[in-house]
Symmetry: D2
Subunit: 334 residues, 4 copies
């Protein structure tokens, strides 16, 4: 079977499609015939800059995938050949707080990823996904969806009537929008594209703000909330947004800090003055994944997939990610 | 102005309509021209059995009401004549855990209630209600709605995808159903009336169980949840239901224990065996009320009112409560 | 190597010492040379009444043990031969809420226990213990200590200045007393023995109540707390204590419900009236165990061991448990 | 009776001692004969720079004081003349999360403070203090002690065995050290003075770091914790410390952000990478104050008072605060 591999630090062009025999699953492991893998910005960044991430070549990219189990090792309970499963971003995060040990079990980073026809994963590192979802749908869950769920449910404790600010229309924000609809919250979402904002509105956003036309978007958010600010901001922005997010969040509110694009320097004084909670978020645990799946199943939620690529065309998917014109997820069939 | 008063322990017939001058509001107080008062089972029970509740005659009944402020005392900030407000069940519960001091500030019990044309309440003992609600609507919020909100949001921490069991179709259960719809949860509701179950289904219940036809309704709930049990049970049942509720709730799940009808003896062993949390619930705080109002406003939620009575016909409302044929709230205009 | 085995439902006398070869550890497993095993009431109950617990004969008893790793299977990270480890009561409870799957991984119940010279356990089913502890010390941690920690830290959220009620001087209560000393809380403890109460006092208990001399011990606890009641009750009592514990706990307080001796019927009405939380507790997770170990290490805490028995004399340890005259733990050397 | 008043923006020298008649307490108010007032850095900053804080002259400075009630207004329950009480920093924070309304009720800022012989406060804006404390002792509680309690108990959820980093030996840090001793935690504390570190060690600190001699004190803290980092950092430092505090805190740990000295710019990326929680802290609620008082009473805790000044010498106290050579609190008798 074949796998895509990062063979050098040459960027997307250094990805090679290679034959790879993963052997049989050991005790407590499962072999999965992957059927789809979704791309996150983090995967592109890893390919373009593998050095500081400590990758050893060749390395299989991507954390997110879905497929069907073809073989289970000894001692595996509750899973059997034929089961449709998604990968868990962290192979070792059952539940509870994150830890360095958990962080060392990330797929497509510390460990080989899933952009491959066959992979071997820990039994606790895969999870069955809702019946109404296709492999392509499920491939979008492990990183973007779970990060959004963690931000709005675990970190934000969002309840009906809360107002939540989403920055941009990337994968995490779109999933957050869908979850917040389920949870009865009101969403304010920003983008530089009126077209994307129109789509977000159609998907249920309460208010939209074009941050190009309204550079003081934090003041606009305050105005929309009667001067009070939002209960939660899901901060996935690039450099320079966090200071404004702090401004746009209410006293004693929460900011979920996500994404490797976090950057720039900020003045932390208003965090103190407003009794804010700034919470770093790094995907989520398998228990959160199970909770999320129950919600997705109960609501028949479908992800927004921008484009699906053939396995051989994986490089095109990364180039589409670079071009940043998508609304929704980019998925590669395996 | 007039007020209904409990003048002896003679039950509903001992209610007398009397003239009463409440005077001017003191520092930190407001005078409210009540416009509607909703009846809870607890109000009927208080009238029928005032002795053990320590009432001194005459006592004005009812915790729940809504009206408009006609005068504010010195030192009142943020409220002014003309404001439409609902009463807070506990005059002194701002936020945080309950306490004996808070319990001593209950309207229509420790303190005079609101079935009157004019009342004086603490500024912190009233709360503005959503614009889309009438006085009759808002009069149903202080006890039934807030108890339901406390049970599903504060105690249950309900999130999208959770499954919640509601016992019967009383005021708390119907509000809980409406809130759970907002929160994205699935509701299983019980009743002895197929007609009431049909209405609950129409209002969004996921599954219904007629406990007369299915006396082992706990087993039915287990079946409906694939053997797992519900995440939360809102236990407002009469004698004998709690043991079955314990059976119907999942391992590490929660039971919110509500209502003066709780009765009968139970075997607590399964609470331990299933790592359950059984949480007594006694209405809720003003902060929870504010949260609830934001949710109600965001969703334009309207209460289910079964019947509205003229002020002079208040006794008929209590008799309707006794007859127990209603679906939704009984409200008296003031 | 040898192991004690329950070979029939004949009680303690049906325990047989047998040769057993556990083989080599598989992937993700470790082989441990057990050095000590502590006995809990639950272990005695299992031996005396194995039927309803679904044991298949022969079954090795006991959940609690400590020893040194002699061999690690493939894929084990962070553990090596020579490491001193204790067993985890639940082999599969990493963190988060309990579940039926976790409950199916109990040692000395669903799975073979540790009263043996050699056992094979999952790598995630053992945990290194503090350096200052002997094997005998560490053997007392998995069930009694962790249950106590879960009750006072996770469930009770005990903070300095809280008052906590402990029922009796069994293993859980004595550990709870030691932890509560660390946490700065005040302990009220009950017993029928003045001698045991004197020892508890010496160990730092704030107040003691002899429940034989003071059958209305709940009223005594109320008096000791100025009528307010305790913040937390660790309920490990036999039939009939829970109703009094409910009485002795403050409004909005917590009762941790522990132990297979929970019994009798109770009237749940006061749980509602006092806004109590009754929380079933079933040992605890590996993450809690790690937290507890850090606390034990920081404070150099030593368990109270009543008596240590030779491996061949294990039956005597169970008979001592039956006699119930001990203060502290009963430990068998392996 | 007399009060100190800020009469212009001339700094400490613009403080004037003036006669002031506060009149009688209104409904729900109490008149307190202040006996002592403690100074916080915030009080000095307010005096030196009153403009941006929106003070109107003349304004009585200081949030912290203790005295005895001399008169109670109508409607006051539970307080009577002769009661010894401390002031609450926020007159309107009963419990729950902070809010703009609560922030508008700060003594010595939005409202007149307590550096006076007589003041009128809300009944809910004072709190009885432990019997073993003098007025001077109790005057140190409202701001510094409660902030420290909020940081280590409410925000940090500190449990026995946790390791906590304290920056410097100011009022908040010294109280935090005392509370952490009670809670069974281990303290690492920094200072530029070996003498102050020696005193902190004597008071129970586990490890000390002289940040002048060890400018990379974050690396030293990592070393002391075996590379893991501390569970909680109480960040009260000046410009430039927060980035190092982030470095010194463990994955999924917490930083309590306190104090108007917070300054400088930080790179927030590591907050995300380490799943940190950065929580702004602004004193605390009356309910927290009650919890803290119970802990202080149970442990007979005494504050560290550096120096006590006569009422007429209040300016000297502010000058001592400016000189920054103290270890412990500066208190003015009233």
């Amino acid at each position: 079977m074949r796998a895509w591999q990062i063979v050098s630090d040459g960027g997307v062009d250094a990805l090679k499609l290679a034959e790879r025999d993963v052997g049989a699953p050991g005790l407590g492991e499962v072999k999965v015939r992957m059927r789809a893998s979704a791309i996150n910005f983090r995967d592109l960044a890893t390919i373009k800059d593998p050095g500081p991430r400590g990758l050893t070549f060749p390395a299989v990219p991507n954390s997110d995938g879905a497929g069907e189990i073809v073989e289970v090792g000894e001692g595996v309970i509750g899973l059997k050949p034929g089961d449709r499963v998604a990968s868990c971003f962290f192979q070792d995060w059952a539940d509870g707080p994150c830890s360095p040990e958990i962080m060392a079990s990330a797929l497509g980073g510390a460990l080989d990823g899933v952009l491959a026809e066959e992979v071997i994963l820990k039994a606790g590192g895969v999870i069955p996904f809702p019946e109404h979802m296709s492999f392509e749908d499920a491939a979008t869950l492990p990183c973007a969806a779970l990060t959004a769920w963690n931000a709005v449910v675990e970190t934000g404790g969002t309840k009906a009537g809360d107002t939540v600010l989403l920055l941009g229309t990337g994968g995490v924000s779109i999933y957050a929008l869908q979850f917040l609809n389920m949870l009865g919250a009101r969403v304010i979402i920003t983008s530089s594209s009126d077209e994307k904002l129109a789509r977000a509105k159609q998907m249920g956003a309460w208010k939209t703000v074009n941050y190009r036309q309204t550079p003081d978007w934090d003041q606009e958010v305050l105005k929309l909330t009667g001067g009070r600010g939002v209960d939660l901001t899901v901060e996935v922005g690039g450099p320079g947004t966090l200071q404004k997010s702090i401004e746009a969040t209410r006293v004693a509110g929460t900011i979920g800090l996500i994404g490797i694009l976090v950057g720039g320097e900020i003045n932390p004084l208003p965090i103190m003055r407003k009794s804010l909670r700034v919470q770093g978020i790094y995907v989520g645990s398998r228990r959160m994944f199970a909770d999320m799946n129950r919600a997705i199943a109960a609501h028949g939620l479908k992800p927004v997939i921008h484009e699906t690529f053939a396995f051989e065309e994986a490089k095109s998917a990364y180039h589409a990610m670079e071009a940043a014109g998508h609304f929704g997820k980019l998925v590669v069939k395996c």
